[in-house]
Assembly symmetry: C2
Homo-oligomer: 249 residues x 2
């Protein structure tokens, strides 16, 4: 075992707890780090491993294959992981993507919770939706919390940030728009769910949903629910929307 | 305003941070407390309110209507709420329910996360499923965290705890069983979803799912998903299962 704690000292001093402004972020934990290495090896600055990590051989092999620097550094992992139980971390460059014009999109307007955002990304990939637009302001998609709750799904999809829904719409004018709203006009039922190829499913913020201007942005959709709840949880609503719209193919 | 901080001193000394063994629990926050008062007034020991709460008149009115003791007690709220921003709390007796024999059930086998459990309860009520079985061991359904994430939906449904799936099954032998598993035999598609009246939808633990003994407990169901994720999040899977099975009515 090569406890390479002293090497690369200069770079180490520069690596700090996650900052929104920084040009890099982290994967915390083995699972998202493996997903990072497999899906976006070109963005990995280095991989950090704690000396007590049990799957070192596999990690070494994978890093060698992808020509990624692997560094034993218990202290740095503890520092960036906020004292969680974390034995592996990846340091990666923040990168940008372009959404695919000919595939359906998921559009999140002002998502506020990083855990929810990550879960939604994971769900999108689970249903074969690989293009996600985020309308700002919104939760930080690069934050290690988002990355972790996405279980690394972040690295398997294209995401793009927009200053407004109009900016998104201008760029992707061909997509048929479906806005999910508590006062949506069309009920999403098993019997009558829309069967379209190129669509954007649009969801609002956890607390406030979409405002009424979205009633006329396309077809407004209501997921039928009882009067006994205020609303469905955002991640559940997104899961159902994705399940139904991708279910025709 | 009646700052009744000194009254009821004896009872106050007995009220502590939530304990699993205790005969009572709390609703923390105005929303779940209102739901408690409206749905289960007979179980409320008292309602605590912080002097800075802004909606005092409505709360007073509701408590008077239901003959519930309202107590101003900033210190006690701070104590039981673990320093969250909490201005209203309800103290309620833990109670037990019986599941309705002639309605469909949701069955959760060893759910481990209180936040997920609460979200699932909220989703069940949202889709009109008012009977939930929990197979132990499982997350504490009475814990204030579960109650809070259920948004008070806990008080609108029947729940019952069982030591084993067999114990549940013996008591409710008429329900058609559907077990949700990654190796389920039948894909849950829009085109071919089962249309039955009296059913139990069975879901496993967040990390481990259902073990293979559940393959033969009834019809095993797979929610189709890509190879790019390990699995769907439990709450999402439950949401989709509920949406589809309740969607025929």
């Amino acid at each position: 075992m090569n406890h390479d704690n002293t090497a690369d000292g200069n770079m180490e001093q520069q690596i700090k707890s996650y900052k929104k402004e920084a040009a890099y972020s982290y994967t915390l934990g083995a699972f998202p780090t493996y997903e990072l290495i497999k899906s976006k090896p070109e963005q990995v600055r280095k991989v950090l491993v704690d000396s007590s990590f049990t799957d070192q051989n596999n990690l070494k092999k994978l890093c060698t294959e992808k020509s990624i620097h692997l560094e034993y550094n218990d202290k740095l992992i503890a520092k960036i992981s906020d004292k969680e139980n974390c034995y592996v971390a990846g340091v990666f460059n923040k990168y940008s993507c372009t959404l695919c014009e000919v595939r359906p999109h998921l559009v999140l307007v002002n998502p506020s919770n990083m855990g929810n955002l990550g879960t939604i990304l994971r769900t999108a990939v689970g249903f074969g939706i690989y293009d996600v637009a985020i309308i700002l302001p919104g939760a930080d998609i690069y934050n290690p919390k988002t990355v972790r709750s996405s279980m690394g799904a972040l690295f398997k999809l294209n995401f793009s940030l927009f200053q407004s829904f109009e900016e998104y719409r201008k760029q992707y004018a061909q997509h048929e728009i479906f806005t999910f709203m508590l006062n949506g006009e069309k009920a999403l039922t098993l019997q009558e769910c829309p069967n379209v190829k190129l669509y954007s499913l649009v969801f609002g913020n956890e607390a406030t949903g979409l405002n009424d201007s979205f009633l006329t942005a396309g077809t407004s959709i209501l997921i039928p629910q009882t009067q006994d709840v205020d609303s469905l949880n955002l991640t559940i609503a997104v899961g159902i929307g994705l399940y139904v719209f991708t279910g025709h193919h």
